[in-house]
Amino acid sequence: MTERTRLSEAFADLDGKLALMAAKAEESLLKAQHALATQDAGLAKEVKRADAEIDALQLEIEDLAAVAIATQQPVARDLRMLVAAFKVAADFERAADHAVHLAKATATFAGQPRMRSLDRLSAMAETGAKMIRGTAEAFTRRSAELARQAAAMDDFIDGEHKALTAEVLAMMRERPEEAEKAAKLLRTSGYLERLGDHMTNACEDIVFMVEGVHVELNA
């Protein structure tokens, strides 16, 4: 069996950059969650700053994959992996954007008494962080099984989003003067729900990368 050195090097490079990108996105999400829970405005700013690094990593991954396609003529699993790298990197980038959205909510809820809905946001963010980590691991270990496990966590996020929506609607009816906060809660919850969807999409792409079949996870 002949190994294709240049292509193998490109894959190792891609794995490293995707793992780093995921680690940064996960860190941002957990920092945003902590910032919201502890009303730490400084931490929220850090999340915003880290976003530029994550965007830059996405471009590096795209360049690496594009050069490998142009110069190595990959086919079959090699090609599927490079295509997956493009797509998964884009999903991590979106996940990091949603971490920023969560961090931005910190200011809105400064000085607020503890609310059940904020706890739900916190739980969603924690699960989202686990999904990001699981997705990255599934990619770098080329494991469809790990991808399925990571995607399965989306059910929890969806359930919390649904429960939060019901709570916030009740809150709007009871205390119309808090409509602005209610709207922010709904929007932020919606972002975290989207984050779960992005990771699910990434996991579907990883299953295609490994098994060569298109699947819909959590349909």
Binding site: T2, V75, A76
Partner: protein, 278 residues
């Protein structure tokens, strides 16, 4: 060839073998060649192709790929009985063309090669004028129509007409390699074949000539069935609708090209096409 088999042989391409369609109407059989259990052995006992079965689709380009010595050229030559020209070669199995086995003793190999033409790796024009390269073979094969028209239409189909229309009397050897290869394609088309076999037709050509021939194939498949053997996997990916992967004489995988190059089913195909073989 006996009188009976001559009548059975599908001479008129407007009168091919029809099979009843489910609705009761008539439709052309979907496969241009139906290869069944084809085994080809050389005089020294080496088996070039082992128990090959595949249906080659009409009006499409089928690529046959595989490492050197895998039997791809041997298989291609079997599709118009060219292996018979190699002493000691034995062939078993069937190659059905319009339902008739081309290896049936009653079938004339010359007739087979007229209906199933071949273009070789190296351009091999006759040492004659461009015009005569096309006219000569057609005349030998009994063409009695308007020769100028046949020459023009054949050269046009091979995308060569515009480049040579003012120098038809000049020697074919004055043409570039790429032009010579298109002349050989025109020469094959002048015999109005149904199937065109191509054995690495661009391996001796530069990228620009290669691109011209590849573009040509796409146009030709509306009228002909093309089977191309190629070493160049990117070329197989670019030009073919179906791809067959042969390895040491065995057919490993035969699938739509887009499937074979993105999600091959066999690990050996995966390794070969991604350059990890050997």
């Amino acid at each position: 060839m006996s009188k009976d088999s001559a009548a059975a042989w599908p001479h008129d391409r407007n009168r091919p073998t029809f099979t009843p369609a489910p609705g009761g109407g008539l439709e052309l059989a979907p496969s241009a060649l139906d290869v069944r259990n084809l085994t080809i052995a050389y005089a020294d006992g080496h088996v070039g192709v082992r128990d090959l079965s595949l249906e080659l689709r009409r009006n499409s380009v089928t690529a046959i790929i595989g490492p050197s010595g895998c039997g791809k050229s041997t298989a291609l030559r079997a599709f118009n009985r060219m292996n018979e020209l190699i002493p000691g070669t034995t062939t078993s199995g069937k190659v059905l063309f319009h339902g008739i086995d081309i290896y049936d003793p009653a079938v004339d190999a010359v007739q087979v090669r007229k209906r199933i033409g071949m273009v070789f790796q190296k351009p091999n024009p006759f040492p004659k004028s461009i015009y005569e390269n096309i006219a000569w073979g057609a005349r030998l094969n009994g063409w009695t129509g308007d020769m100028d028209e046949l020459v023009e239409s054949s050269l046009k189909q091979a995308a060569l007409w515009d480049e040579v229309k003012d120098k038809l009397k000049r020697s074919a050897y004055a043409l570039s390699g790429g032009q010579q290869q298109r002349l050989c394609i025109a020469r094959a088309l002048a015999l109005t074949p149904e199937i065109l076999l191509m054995d690495e037709p661009t391996s001796a050509l530069d990228p620009l000539s290669t691109a011209k021939i590849e573009a040509l194939l796409d146009g030709l498949k509306a009228k002909y069935t093309i089977i191309i053997v190629t070493h160049n996997m990117q070329q197989a990916g670019r030009v073919s609708d179906m791809t067959a992967f042969l390895l040491t004489g065995d057919l490993v995988e035969y699938a739509p090209t887009r499937q074979l190059f993105v999600t091959p089913r066999d690990e050996r195909t995966e390794r070969y096409i991604s350059g990890r073989f050997g």
